[in-house]
């Protein structure tokens, strides 16, 4: 019986991107399936953040990016958000002058008012620790709570794919676990996740598949169940010059 190939939710082919004259990504190929958690690992400077920025339209890029069957060429962040792709940027940057609830409402700015309130409550229900502070200024939250708020901003749109850029950065282990529990629940609920992480062990515990990015190219792709993965990853990062693609 022929197996039908399921089209991936996100299909990136030959993606190149950079900042001005500096080329960071050189021909990256990557896919994310509809119910998958995919992790992108790699040392600093490899281009992980650049990859997410290119896909969500914050940066110009060349190559091909298809999301839910739609070609994202020329799409900016507004278009990708409306297509169902949410990008939680690095550094838990929330609007400190506005309340927690306002932060969430801004994420669904283009929805009609009635629906906005309902969705806002829905997102807050997922995160009791910030729900209690809904009318406080986001600036009064701790770093970890701000990170959770940032993730909530991504989720309030009910995206099909949520991209998270180093959600654990700067957080205590307890809060890191908290965030990753949320990611686990997302997968169960049917949202795909593309996770950029520095914490290899945590990422491997959560993801279905993993890519390793180094010096702007994919150097490894594997399912997380495979043997000897941590070793192979180290090897891929610390490769000497003659292992360049």
């Amino acid at each position: 019986m022929p197996t039908s190939a399921v089209e991936p939710l996100l299909d990136v082919v030959g993606l190149s991107a950079g900042y001005g004259k500096i080329g960071i990504l050189h021909g990256v190929d990557l896919t994310v399936g509809a119910n998958e958690v995919v992790a992108v690992l790699g040392p600093n400077g490899a281009g992980k953040t650049t990859l997410l920025r290119a896909v969500s339209g914050l940066l110009p890029w060349s190559g091909s990016v298809c999301f839910a069957g739609r070609d994202l060429a020329g799409a900016g962040p507004r278009d990708t958000v409306q297509a169902g792709l949410a990008h939680v940027i690095e550094g838990h940057r929330v609007f400190t002058q506005l309340t927690v609830l306002d932060n969430l409402l801004l994420a669904i700015y283009d929805l009609p008012r009635g629906e906005r309130t309902a969705r806002g409550e829905e997102a807050l229900a997922l995160f009791p620790e910030i729900a209690a502070k809904r009318h406080e200024r986001a600036g009064s939250l701790s770093g970890g709570q701000q990170q959770i708020l940032a993730v909530a901003q991504g989720l309030v749109r009910r995206p099909r794919l949520l991209m998270l850029d180093e959600p654990s950065a700067g957080l205590s282990p307890a809060l890191v676990n908290r965030v990753l529990v949320v990611v686990e629940r997302l997968r169960e609920a049917g949202t795909a996740v593309l996770l950029v992480e520095q914490l290899i062990e945590k990422a491997l515990a959560l993801a279905d598949r993993v890519y390793a990015l180094a010096r702007g190219s994919i150097v490894l792709e594997a399912r997380t169940g495979e043997a000897d993965l941590p070793h192979r990853l180290e090897h891929a990062y610390l490769a000497t010059a003659n292992r360049q693609p």
Partner: protein, 285 residues
């Protein structure tokens, strides 16, 4: 006499404050100071005089048209002088593009409207004297703008979107907020505020093209002293400036009054380049 100094000082201080707020609204949206803020004030007076006195329209209609003119200039500023240079790494370009635009409008007004100050119509048919409308109109305008902005920022989503863009443009973009449209709307709003300042102060300042450079300078003092982007600081500094200027006018005469104002301004600014509020006041309303 004191009464006159106070009422004139507060009235003109309110006009300066409103121009300062115009600067601030543009700055919050784009991190750019635009030379067109003073020109907007000038246009409020000129357009008011043109529509009401010269073309005979009813006051309300002339008023709305003058505000609309301000909005248009605000939008033109954003499209022509701000947006193209935001992308460039060269910091100084926006100073030049907004300066060029402001100059073009000022000169055009001088040639097509008049090089001499023209009278501004009396808006309400009340007898002169006492606490005259030329004093309380600017104060009313200032109060309306302050209350209006407060309502906008606190109670509407678009107002909060303005605050978001002002705080962190990149995060706002990533969240999918319509950054370009919001910036355009901010500049239109700034245009309305500037035109309102000139319209409300029309009787006092008259419809005169040279109000533009005067308001460009005196409208910036509240921003410099009150702190960039700080509207409350702008109002306080504007009122103080107005009072100080009128007192100096009375004590040492018109010409030396400008010297006095300017000297004090330079000294204060050199001592506190971030404004009198300094780093303490981080919030921007």
């Amino acid at each position: 006499m004191v009464e006159s100094i106070v009422s004139t000082g507060l009235a003109i201080g309110c006009i300066y404050a409103l121009i300062g707020i115009t600067y601030n609204v543009m700055f919050s949206a784009s991190r750019v100071f635009s030379f067109t803020a003073g020109t907007l004030g000038m246009l409020g007076g000129v357009l008011g005089s043109l529509f009401i006195a010269r073309m005979g329209m009813p006051v309300a209609v002339g008023f709305l048209l003058a505000l609309a003119g301000g909005a248009v200039l605000g939008i033109v500023t954003e499209i022509v002088a701000v947006r193209p240079v935001l992308k460039s790494l060269d910091q100084h370009l926006y100073v030049l593009s907004t300066l060029a635009l402001a100059l073009m409008i000022q000169q055009f007004t001088a040639i097509e409207w008049s090089t001499e100050p023209q009278p501004f119509p009396r808006l309400f048919d009340i007898a002169r004297g006492g606490f005259d409308q030329q004093y309380w109109l600017p104060m009313l305008a200032c109060a309306v703008v302050i209350v209006g902005l407060e309502l906008l920022y606190r109670h509407t989503l678009i107002g909060r979107a303005f605050l978001a863009i002002a705080e962190d443009t990149y995060a706002a973009r990533a969240l999918g907020l319509p950054e370009r449209g919001l910036r355009l709307a901010s500049f239109a709003l700034a245009g309305v505020i500037g035109a309102l300042a000139g319209f409300a102060g029309g009787e006092m300042l008259l419809a005169f093209f040279a109000n533009a450079p005067m308001l460009t300078f005196y409208g910036f003092v509240p921003v410099a002293l009150g702190g960039m982007g700080n509207n409350r600081g702008a109002v306080v500094a504007g009122l103080l400036l107005g009072l100080f200027q009128q007192a100096a006018n009375f004590l040492v005469g018109g010409i030396f009054a400008s010297v006095a104002v300017f000297t004090v301004f330079i000294i204060v600014l050199m001592a506190c380049p971030e404004g009198l509020a300094g780093a303490a006041l981080q919030r921007r309303v």
